[in-house]
Symmetry: C3
């Protein structure tokens, strides 16, 4: 039995993993999906990246979890890198699900394509609480491109505005890049949340991991909603010894 | 119910879509596959790109079609861009099936790899009527690489020489690049009609669409012949709201 | 009925193809999988690339095989290029299974990424007999990333040290690049034995073949172990007329 801790991406909270957790549990695995600080519909938004990290560290330590397969999706990739720096002795393997693997010293926005930077900067400025909500047309076409319109709308209703500070905090990742923790990367082959090519997830992000295991599956950036059963299987393949 | 208008590529005529049309109809959709001017076994070849466009515009207007999901395959991509410029009010979404999305001011040949340009220029010169017929070995290996030899030969027999003028006409696409029409791109993952990489379909052509929906399927450039049922399903996924 | 000759890669011997041979035979095909000189657990390691080539030429000529579909995997790609130069009249088609297609004048190591060059140079120096054994962590994560740990260990136990000389011999491939022999390339979509991108198999290696047929399948660099049935099917698709 493996112990999975699943760290969600921007606009999500831990409940986005519920179907994936059930699929992992039905395979006899343990899986936890904590909500990152500053996320979830009712949480206050004034958090920085260090607080995001600390909230996940706490949820692992408070449950006394060890030999954790720590999975990060999208923005969650930036969090699991820092969590691994803080409690490497509890982490068995890191799994990046089309997730950011930032270069040392960069923020998430430093590695996002210019059209997102321009849009998100503006949206954050226009917001009352320095947050960004992804516009529905982008969500529908670039994030859940494999969903029908009903699923696209339902999933959009699950989202809540993303605190912008953690996306612009520059991260010291020197320790992460020295860790010997085994690593895997799951690439969803129809994921265009980052545009394929120069700004894409794979191999841009995956190649930074050094020795790692690649696992691929069909689907969009949000297989967490559109194919949680298939995702659970690939997380299991990515996480096994 | 959606209304699909399917625009074929070079060497083809509308009949190449017949099985796809039947699959779409069996899903309860409407689908039309007009033949572009200058195409089809018996048509005179002295056409330019504007006449190609006009023939598709006419077939849409004459049928009084509205809310059209307009699909272009290969060369057909250059046609649907210009059709959308002329009658944007009738077009609900543009779907590019491994199709050319030219930069403003370019011709199709301007964006084709040098070995094709050299070959096609020569073949057009050698022809009696400024047309180009694709040599069978290229068709078999690069266009229907997923077919058996009988299918390769049968499909080749359906082709007719391509008028070269529409492939060398430079297209003003300024209006196209301002259109807000939703767009999708279908990429067939074994399509090597354009060589993968620097000269490939995806993401070279798809990335020019700006916000768009990506759909992928296995198969060669000619899934229109080798997998029309799968193609109909992907056209439907690409075209839905 | 086709006649397949299957040429293994580094660390392997001909027996790695046994399940694939059985699958091809059960389809009514003939298939042979000779062991390259200097390979196999008990063979002396003091061979150069010319001797590797000669051993495969001999196994084809001694069996009086003609119309051979000659398949090379990985390092085996360098061998089948040279075999085709020597006995082109016996070769019907060349099939590269995520195999090296070297530029004229290069060695395999000349086209390998720096981290492999550094590691393999060191391992060869440290060995008693100028051989290189791939470390298990690289094998498990980058070569059999689609296997479970038991399969990973079992397959590793089948390997034996690779003679380094054939990997550093620079090959004259001028004749190969003039051959009109039909060619196919099989790409396994999760193969990260060469890292995707700048140093990857596809399209880096495949594009050098000029006109060729692309076939793809899911799986790692070692589908020879993890999916021999699927591999046999793709070899058949790649090899047919």
């Amino acid at each position: 039995m493996e112990t999975f801790v699943l760290v969600h991406g921007a606009w999500h909270d831990g409940s986005a993993w519920d179907p994936t957790v059930r699929h992992l549990e039905s395979r006899g695995q343990r899986a936890f999906a904590p909500t990152i600080a500053g996320h979830g519909k009712s949480a206050p938004r004034n958090v920085n990246h260090a607080q995001c990290t600390e909230s996940i560290v706490r949820s692992i330590v408070d449950r006394s979890l060890r030999d954790v397969v720590l999975v990060g999706h999208s923005f969650g990739g930036t969090v699991i890198c820092k969590v691994a720096e803080e409690i490497p002795e509890r982490i068995k393997r890191l799994v990046f699900l089309n997730a950011f693997v930032l270069k040392d010293g960069n923020s998430l926005m430093d590695e996002s394509p210019p059209h997102y930077v321009e849009l998100f900067d503006r949206l954050a400025k226009e917001s009352a609480d320095h947050t960004v909500m992804i516009p529905f047309p982008i969500w529908r076409e670039s994030f859940v491109n494999d969903a029908d319109i009903e699923t696209a709308k339902w999933t959009y209703a699950q989202l809540s505005p993303e605190p912008y500070q953690p996306c612009t905090d520059k991260l010291d990742l020197k320790k992460f890049y020295l860790l010997q923790t085994p690593k895997s990367f799951i690439n969803c082959t129809e994921d265009i949340a980052l545009p394929p090519g120069e700004w894409g997830w794979h191999p841009r992000m995956s190649s930074r991991l050094g020795l790692h295991r690649l696992v691929q599956m069909p689907g969009s950036h949000e297989v967490i909603y559109t194919n949680p059963g298939g995702l659970a299987e690939k997380i299991w393949e990515a996480g096994r010894d």
